[in-house]
């Protein structure tokens, strides 16, 4: 069973469009994250949610809106996509006992 699953794995879209990425974890963790990995592989945290509540918003443009309907799901909606949004987006959840993060396989977004 996949612990953290993201869909879709690939998105190719035009500038100005809106897109969503979904994430689900079956590990029972309370805390979930969205990270953005750029072309140089630098991983930057975007959002952190704990039990459906937003904890961290790291100066991400408000075109990015996360939503957590329950603690097992953390979705990311992006409005008015820009070229610079092209990246791989990773969802992760955290084991509070060990501090270890469990990552999804990533969603590669390409904005043309």
């Amino acid at each position: 069973d996949t612990a953290v699953s993201q869909t879709p794995k690939y998105l190719v879209t035009q500038m100005g469009n809106d897109k969503s990425i979904k994430c689900e974890q079956n590990l029972g963790h309370d805390t979930m994250y969205w990270y953005k990995q750029d072309s140089k592989k630098f991983l930057k945290i975007m959002f952190s949610y704990n039990n459906k509540e937003l904890i961290i918003n790291e100066t991400v443009p408000n075109r990015f809106s996360p939503k957590s309907p329950d603690k097992a799901h953390l979705n990311l909606h992006i409005n008015s996509l820009e070229l610079g949004d092209s990246a791989v987006y990773f969802c992760a959840s955290r084991d509070i006992n060990t501090g270890e993060l469990f990552f999804g396989e990533g969603s590669r977004l390409t904005v043309l």
Binding site: K41, F42, L43, I56, A92, G99, F103, G104, E105
Partner: protein, 111 residues
């Protein structure tokens, strides 16, 4: 700003050799973790070392932590082609639970 910096950025070795990657960070930490990322995949946790620990082993992995120098190293012994991946250090800063990642070291192990 970015907390961890890995060194070297890229490392190329032969199978059977040891690979050493270093990580430096800026502020006091609760713990430091190492992750591996295979091409096109998500990150996988390798090992965690707490701020009061100096060395930890897991299979062919050995991690050291020097809090006075704010640095850590990851040693992979007897490397295999399957160890080819990017390796990231990540730190949890005192007072926060968020993991901040470095830019990674790309390791290539040739058969």
């Amino acid at each position: 700003s970015q907390q961890g910096e890995e060194d070297p950025q890229a490392l190329s070795i032969q199978e059977g050799e040891n690979a050493t990657m270093n990580c430096s960070y800026k502020t006091s930490i609760n713990n430091l973790q190492w992750y591996r990322q295979n091409s096109g995949r998500g990150l996988v946790h390798l090992i965690l070392i707490r701020s009061n620990e100096r060395e930890k082993h897991s299979g062919r992995l050995r991690v050291t932590l020097d809090t006075s120098k704010k640095s850590s190293s990851l040693l992979i012994t007897a490397s295999r082609a399957a160890d080819t991946a990017s390796y990231f250090c990540a730190t949890t800063v005192v007072g926060y639970s968020t993991l901040t990642f470095g830019k990674g070291t790309m390791l290539l192990v040739s058969p």
